[in-house]
Each structure stands twice: as structure tokens, then as C-alpha cells.
Subunit: 237 residues, 6 copies
């Protein structure tokens, strides 16, 4: 039995509020139950030095948690003077995932930064970030195309992410904080609409799992991402 009473393959409610901030070229507040992440896409007509003059663009991600997004207050990374290893790991994942569905030449010589700021955390913040960042990116690119700055759509598909895990011996979908803290194994899947895998990050904590276990988690993730793809579709039209 899951603490939330959900069935093993049941997602939390997905909520998406697009246009959450007025300055960003694309934005949404995405929620998976009590996890809330503000995702913004910022377009800059300026590339990092190592990419200039190569006829292509770049997509990158940044991630942060507000200090009191969590049960107990965490110290502010800006005050500590450095980003944690966890933060850096997550923002590298966000950028890599989004780049998997963007044609950099079609994007042209510009950079889009996807900022994912966790307003409230209840498990699954990195996967919510990726799923929401895609919407912000989609909206920003729509804007660029409407203005005629981009001719051909550089976005090659939808991408979404979800966590699965083995909780008290049962594979379950979309872990919340309570499950995540007590899961035997925890895996984040980044999937592309149509059945392709962009990224798997599976970690055994305490227990381990075998090939069969990994497959069962992957299949749950496929079910979950299908629901996210539908929600992304509705939100970005």
C-alpha cells in the first residue's frame, strides 16, 4: 500500500499553468501533486564563446530549490557561495535532456536557457523540471516562429521524465517524498514520445535490482510519460 493511497501505476495529478511570468519568452508552473516547479525559457541572441560562428544554437538548463521548498529550510546556495553537486548534476541532466529533442542548426545562433526553480518539493523535482521545461521551450520557440525569427521548427519531438522505484517490494510510478525517502531503488527515466529512451539514472539504495526489475520500472515510466505527453500537448497549444 502506498502512503498516498495511490495504485502502483497511478500518477499524481498533473497541473500546468502556462504564462506564469510575464517577462520570460516561455514559462509554466508545473505541478505533480504537491511538487511545484516554475520553468522559464529565456531566449538570448548570444552564444557561449565556444559555440560562436558555428551556425548553430544551444539549449541549457539551470535548477534551484527555494530555501523553504522543503520540509526543513535548506541554506541558500548563493549564500554558501557554491552550487551543490546535486544541483549541478540535475541541471546538467535538464540541459542534456532538452537538447535531445532540439535541432541546433534549425534553432540558429541563439541560446535558450531553461530555468527550473522549485517552489515546493514533494519528490520528483528533477523529472517535473524536465517535463515543464519542454513546455516553456515549446512556447518560446512558438514565439520565435511567430515573429519569423525561426523558419523551420527546431523541436524534433516531445520529451518527458518521471521517477519510478521499488517501494516495499513493489514497483511504483511517480514517487512522492515519503516514498522516495524509503524506496529500495529509485530510477529516473527521460523518455521521448514514440518509445525512445533519452536517459536512465537508476540507483539502488540499500536493496538492488536485477534486469527484470529494471524492465518493470521502464514500463511504468512509459505509462507515466504517455500521460505527461498528453498534458504537454494540451498546455502548449
Amino acid at each position: 500500500m502506498r502512503p498516498s493511497g495511490r495504485a502502483p501505476d497511478e500518477m499524481r495529478a498533473i497541473t500546468i499553468e502556462t504564462g506564469y511570468t510575464k517577462h520570460a519568452e516561455g514559462s509554466c508552473l508545473i505541478g505533480f501533486g504537491d511538487t511545484k516547479v516554475l520553468c522559464t525559457a529565456s531566449v538570448e541572441e548570444r552564444l557561449p564563446p565556444w559555440l560562436r560562428g558555428k551556425g548553430q544554437g544551444w539549449v541549457t538548463g539551470e535548477y534551484s530549490m527555494l530555501p523553504r521548498a522543503t520540509h526543513t529550510r535548506g541554506s541558500r546556495e548563493a549564500a554558501r557561495g557554491k552550487q551543490s553537486g546535486r544541483t549541478q548534476e540535475i541541471q546538467r541532466l535538464i540541459g542534456r535532456s532538452l537538447r535531445a529533442v532540439v535541432d541546433m542548426e534549425k534553432l540558429g545562433e541563439r541560446q535558450i536557457t531553461l530555468d527550473c526553480d522549485v517552489i515546493q518539493a514533494d519528490g520528483g523535482t528533477r523529472t517535473a523540471s524536465i517535463s515543464g521545461a519542454w513546455i516553456a521551450l515549446r512556447l518560446a520557440v512558438n514565439g520565435l516562429m511567430k515573429q519569423g525569427l525561426i523558419k523551420n521548427d527546431p523541436i524534433t519531438g516531445k520529451i518527458a521524465a518521471i521517477s519510478c522505484g521499488i517501494f516495499q517490494g513493489t514497483p511504483v510510478l511517480d514517487l512522492d517524498y515519503e516514498e522516495d525517502s524509503n524506496a529500495d531503488a529509485d530510477a529516473n527515466f527521460v523518455l521521448i514520445e514514440g518509445g525512445q529512451i533519452a536517459e536512465v539514472q537508476a540507483t539502488a539504495e540499500g536493496a538492488t535490482y536485477d534486469e527484470e526489475g529494471l524492465l518493470r520500472l521502464l514500463r511504468l515510466a512509459n505509462m507515466g510519460c504517455d500521460q505527461i505527453f498528453t498534458a504537454q500537448d494540451e498546455a502548449s497549444h
Copy 2:
């Protein structure tokens, strides 16, 4: 004529949504027009080393802007590895202002941190932070009193803040970004309900002002803060 069409002594609409995040002991999303700040109060039964064992508590503030709260994306302070002078100046102001209305002995040996994170910026983020932080603090202290952890209310009064300035020769109340960028002089007032001044930060940019000008700005601020005190009252009951 103000760009927004407001009268010189007209505030922007104040919006307050309390309980915005579920983990913080007190929280609100406060808006002054398009300026939106998430204020949370976090109670910790742990004091900074220099205050331990003195029979009193502490109140402190932290401030940050989300990278895309502004017209163009600003770099993330956590990524740059340090907080700007502006950020530090503002968070010192927030803490000092709130401490002006708290009796530290009645608070007891605990610390309350007021995190003010700007979700969207359109001028006046530091004054919105102070005004919203008071609500988050009030809600957190209400909770401590309801739980019987504090006997006597340590909050000695209401505090609010507003910016005024001289725009095209006319003193105006509650500057938005467009006015702020073009004002001849800019002053932030932190006022305590009942007519006392907690803090004045008045800066001439380009033009300067004389004693008479300072007084006219102070009187506008008094009018503005009266409206904020009413809104605080409604929000924290």
C-alpha cells in the same frame, strides 16, 4: 502623467495569497501590480552561535531574484558563486526592518528566517519583500502561539515599506519599473503603524532634492503604508 496612468498618490493593486507553500510555518505571495514576491517564514529552534544562551531569539532575512524575474535574464547568484552587493544590502534591510517590531526575549531562543524570493519584478521588490515578510512572520508566530510554544506575542506592531520618488518633477507613490528607471530621486521608507519611521533610504540619481522634497515623499509613503497595513490586517486574520 505616470506611464501607468495612475494618479501621483495612487498605489498599484495589492494582492496577497497566504499559505502559498505548505512546508513553511508562514508564507504568502504578495503582489504590488506585476511585482510578485514569495515570502516564507521558517522557524528553527537553533540560534546563530553568537546568540546562544542569552535568553532571546533572532529574526533574519534573505532575498533573491529568480533569474528571469526581470526583463532580461540575470545570471544566477549561486552559479556566479557570490551574492551581489545589492542583494546583501536588501537582505540586511529586510532583517533589520522586521527586527524593529519584534521583542526578541518574548520570541524565545529560536530563529525565524524570512526568505523573500522575487518571482516577477516590476519595481519595488525590496519594499514588497518587507511588507510580505511581516505577514509570513505574523502567521508563523500565530502558529507558535497556538502550539503554546510562545506565551506572549513578541510582535510589537505592524511594519510596511513603500518606495516613492520624484518622476518628471512630481513626487509619486509606489514606483513601477518604468518610473524607477527614469526617476530623478528614489526613496524607500520603512514605516511602523502609528507614524514612526524605522528606516529611510533616499537616493538622488541625477537630480537632488531638498528638505521640502524629502518631506513630501515621506508623506506619500505614510499614505501608502496605511493601505498596506490594512491589507496585512486582512491577510493575517
Copy 3:
């Protein structure tokens, strides 16, 4: 009764030794009683990147306390690896104040940096810094004009700063350390010769003050700055 035996509107002795260091284009050691600040003006024919090619110059300030300027030794900011919020706040104030009396186009495409290093501290180091920095700036600009590098004087007036406060219920002028540590309210005024206000930073600590109180402090500040303007005049001829 003030600890120093001074009358409420009595300044400490002002001492100014110009040409204190041989390398700087302008310099002075300014003293307000036991507070001693070395102010140097350094002219560089090089602008920060964001100002290049705009046909104007820039004036900026830096501030530091020697570790043993104070009663007990403070740790060296260079060793700690960052400047405190207080230091940054003060150096921003110094730069802003001096810029209020400089015409950047007449200055031409060069930068003048005003370094204010506190040799000995006894209250009022930031206001002494501003008052002394003006002298260093004046001397440096005199030199540039003598060399024919600047045609028209870019300095539009004199600027000075002084702290006032409410000490045991009485408004007093030019607080020393003992008064500053025990004042109910503390205000720094940056004034321009002729009665204009460039900056007010007034903070209530413990007690607060009302409109009347603010005005009384401002009037004391006007008296104090008049004496500083006279001293600046004598020192820079």
C-alpha cells in the same frame, strides 16, 4: 551629556593631510577626531566594458578597514575570500555619492577610483570616506586639467557626509564609536553644497523616530556639512 563632552551640535576636529601618498593622482588622510581614513583617487584611461565608447567617464569607490583599525582585530576580508555586506553597501554609497557631483561627459573616457582605507576607526568611517574622497577627486581632477587632459571642470559641486543620531533622547551631530554603539537611531546624510540632499540612510535601532525627528537630524547634518565644505575648500586649494 555626550561621552566626549561635546555639545549636541559640535563636530569633532577635522584634520586633512593632502598628498599623503606619492603615487595616487589625488590623496588625503582625513580625520574626524580619532577616525582616520586614507582616501586616494586613481585615474585610469580605461573604462569598465559596459561603458566603453559612450563618450563618458566613470567614478567608483572602494572601501576597506585595516584589520586592526578597530578595538578588537577583525579578520581580513581578502583572507576570508569575500567582502562583507557592510563593505559592499558602503562602497556602493561612496561611488554613488561622488557620481552625484561629476559630469561624466566632461570627465571624458576615463575612470577614477576612490579608495577609502580606514586606518583607525572611531565611528563615522563611511561619512569621513565620502568627505575625504571628494578632496582626493578634486586634486586628481585639478591635475588632469593642469595637464590639459580635461578642458572643462567635470566637478559640479562639493559633496560631504556626516552621521547624526538620537543619543539618550537628544539629537546629536557626528557620532563617535561610543555614541554610535548606543544610539537609538542613526542617520547618515550625504549633502551637496547649497542645500541639496544626495542621500539619506536613516535607521532606527531599538527606538524609532517620527517626521519631526528626521527633520532635526537633517538640520544638524546641514550644520556639520557646512564645516566640512569649508575644510574641503581649504584643503584643495
Copy 4:
């Protein structure tokens, strides 16, 4: 055809030189072809503050590349003043992997740090680090047991890691630098002797893969780790 001429399921030569440094409680220089990593295990009878007094120990990892381990010289992280996101990600992985096979209570209140310093890099440095770190750990624990400081062996099994990828359409085992730079997908597997998975980190770069692809990579990884387990066994007796 692989650039090295190896068969798709062919590992590079594994070389292990134990006792490579005289000070560490356990050490080896492990090589996978031209990739050489010095792994040392340092035992300290001192725990991080958050673990003290809980009757258990801790295992952690650190990772670094010598500046000229690579084709072109990289700047030294100590000189830059921070560790890259990549370094932090890898050292978190090393620590997590080794902890998966250690019983922290049997280890007792001590910390073992596994330092993995890459002397020469030719692909697969993180997986070589994990595989070598296990040997260093094994040797250090053997020493603690010989000295009677630990009664019951805290190491619950062998752990090894290997990278696999899809190179020009073919799944291949143990990628070298040339393959790694050009692979369509790249996956690192951390496996426990006996068929359990501790960690999967699979990333599609450019191309993506499906469930079938992931399984084929996992099976290659199982073959590779079996060879590493044998080598670990020989080296640590």
C-alpha cells in the same frame, strides 16, 4: 569495426598494481588499456559531524583528473577554485557505488575515503575508478581486520563498473576515448557480483535507444563485469 580492432564484446586489457603507494591503507593503480587510475583508500577514525555517535561508519569517494591526463591540458580545478559539475557527479557516483556493498555498522565508527586520481585518460575513467576503488577498499579492510580493529567483514560483495555504448549502430563493451567521443549512446553500469544492478546511467547523445537497446547494453556490461570481478579477486588476495 571498432577503431581499436576489438570485437564488440571485447574488453581492453585490465592491469592492476596493488600497493602502489606506501602511505595509504589500501591502494592500486588500475588500468583499462591506456586509462590509468590511482585508487587509494584512507582510513580515518573520525566521522563527518552528522554521523557521529550513531554506531556506524561511512565510505566516500573523491575523483580528479591530473591536468595532463588528457589529450590537451585541462586547467587544474584547485586553481580554478571549484570542482566541475562532472567531477562532483562522478565522485558522488563512486561513493554511492561502494556504499552499496558495505555494511556500515560492521565497519564501525570510522570513515574510509576512496581517492581516485586519473593519471592517464582514454575513456571509462569513472568506471575504472569504481572497479579500482573496490580493490583499495578491500585491502584497507583486510588490514583493519588483521589488526583486530574490525571483527566481521563489512564488505558484502564485489562491485565493478563498465561503460557500454552504441557505436556506429553496434552495441560495444568498454568504450575507449575515440569510441566514447563518437558513440550514439553511452551507458555506465555499476554491477554487483551475482547479477544485481547497483546503478545505471544511460545517456543518448544524438541518437536514442529503446528497451531492447538498453537490455543489450546491460548484457554486455554483465560480461565485462565478470572479467573485472575475476581480476579484483586475483588482485586482492
Copy 5:
């Protein structure tokens, strides 16, 4: 011929003003010609953690140049966020030199920090720092003895430092900036009254020197330090 017209074995004028700052337990402004260093000794009844409870004290040094101590303005180390290698090298030398003439057990469980801040630089700032720091230390220890906090004098002798070099083929004493910039070889000697050597740091720049050259420089240094010992004697009585 030396640029200054001095004879090869002629020192610059030594000036010493003791009690330069009122807060420090010992202080002097020492000058060697145009090189001016403010040296303060701060006594703290608190030791670094690694020395506590060992029945002995500690002496340490810190060094900094004011940004405009030099011909062209140098950036402030506190603003850059780290001390340069040169600064660290010099402050390690200052501490080591002074410790050579202090009996740490007689000093008792306290730390004396010698801050050497260069007000104006014209060559030889590190040697002036050491020579002046001894005076500040002597004065601080005199104070501790007068207060009865120390019974037996912990200072075992006088220490002084001077630079020598080979300038246009001739060994010369007490290099000023112009000579230092053009010297073929440059050596700093830290000598103890009575003919003992505490430290030699000799560097060939461009040219090199042989045993004979080193000896000639050492003999010049002995002559110079004798004059400094006399000046220290006069200053600290």
C-alpha cells in the same frame, strides 16, 4: 651608479613612528625611504584550534598592499576574492621570521597577529614589514609584561630584514623599486642580532650568481641589519 645616487652599501633613511594607531597593543609606521608600512600587533587570548591546551602561544603575520600603494592601482584582493600567491608567500615569511625570536611557552596561551599593511611601496616592502613587525611585537609584549600577564620576556632577540641585489654588476644594499625592477639578482635576508641567519630568499632573475656573490650580498645585509637593530632599539624604548 645607483639611480638614487646612493653608495652601494648605503641604506635609505629609516623612519619609525611608534603608537601610530590607538587600538593596537603595539604599532608603528616604518619607512625605508618612500616605502611606508603600517605594522600592528594584536593580542588575542584565543589560539587556533590546533594549538589549544598545549601550554604555548603563537605568532602569525598578515600582509597586504593598499590598492594604490604602487605606481599603478592594483585590484583589491578582497574584491578579487583571494589573496595572491605573492601575498601568501610574504605573510608566511613574516610569521616564520618573528617566530624565530619568540619563546612560545613564555608567551603563554595567546596569539599575537602582526598585520603589515603597505601604505606606500617603493621596493623592500616585505623586509620593511618584518623589521617593523618586530617593533610592534616588542611594544605589545612590553604592555603584556607591564600588566603582569607575562612574567618572563618571551622575545629572545631582535630580528630584521633587508634586501640586497646585484645591480648592473655591483652588489648593492636596500634596493628601491627602480633598482629592484632592473636587478640581475635579488635576495632577501632575515637576520638575528648577533650574526645568525633566520632566512635567505635569493633569486636570480636573468643573471645568476655564484657562492662568492651570495656571500657578498650576505655581508651587505649584515651591515644593513645592524643599522635596523639600532633603529629598533631606539624606537622600542
Copy 6:
């Protein structure tokens, strides 16, 4: 009697393994007894900004100890976020020493970085670094000449370094860790083949020494360096 049983003028065994890493343009693992340092020379056709376009090259050094090179594990400088004063002092010495035997104009507009990473420490790591760096430099320059990138050999001579000290009253050559920790005085000499001195760094710890003592140490150093020159010669042919 020396702890190692060596005669006062007896060096430890010198071992040199050239070509230790395949990527560096020149490399060796140099050993003085149990002290082992990996020295690599990296050639870059890119100069630091302040040297560009001056028709000359540059040689610089970097130094680091692996965390467990020593008896007890030291924390990693990259993790601490800064290099220690000791590290910076040593790498400045390495660069300065090597530059003493390179004609920068003949080197041409390129930079050679000498990385000295201590694999195992047993005293004398900085002198081993200099002696080994010369070999790495020699090999890298040989390569540049073979490729025709440099016409005339820019290396003007051999340079080597060794430590000497006074141990229990006797001057001894090539101190190991046990001697170094207990020596009364410690001196590092950097000598150029043919009898010239490039650098002396002599420090008295506890005891001091006089002119005669310094000379005896210098003569021992000359004997030691002669052996190193021979070993360098054999290694770089």
C-alpha cells in the same frame, strides 16, 4: 646518525621513468627514494594575454599533492576551493627556476606548462619537482625541435634542486621526511650546471645558522646537484 643510515653527503636513490604518460609532450616520473613526482610538460600555442605579440614564449609551473601522498590524508585543494599558500609558493618557485634556463625568444610564441603532481611524498617534493620538470621540458623541446617548430635550442643549461639541512648539528644532504620534520634548519637550493645559483630558500626552524653554516649547505647542494645533472643527462638522451 641519519634515521635512514645514510652518510651526511649521501643522496637517496634517484629513479627516472621518462614517457610516463602518453599525452604530454614530455613527461617523467622522478623518484628520490620514496618521494615520487609525476612531471609533465604541456605545450600550448597560446600565451597568457599580457605576453601576446611580444615575440617570446613563457614557461610556468603548477604543483599539487595527491590527497594521500602523505602519511595522513590531506584534504583536496579543489574541494576546499583554493590552493594553499604552500602550494602557490612552490609553483611560483618551479616556474621561476625553469625560466632561469630558457631563452624566451628562442622558445617562440608558445607556453610550456610544467605540472608536478606528487604521487608519494617523503620529503623534498619541491626540489624533486624542479629536477623532474627540467627533464619533461627537455623532452618537450626536443619534440618541438624534431618537428621543426623551433630552430635554435631555447634551453640554455641544466637546472636541478636539492634540499639540505642541519640535522642534530650536522649538515646533511637530501632530507627525507623524518629528517625534514626534525631539522634545525632547512634550505632548498636551485642550481645551474656549471656552478651558478638560481635560487636559495633557507629557513631556520628553532635553531639558526651563520655564514659558515650557509656555505656548508651550499657545498653539499653542489655535490647533490652534480648527481642530478648526470641523471638528467641519461634520462633525456
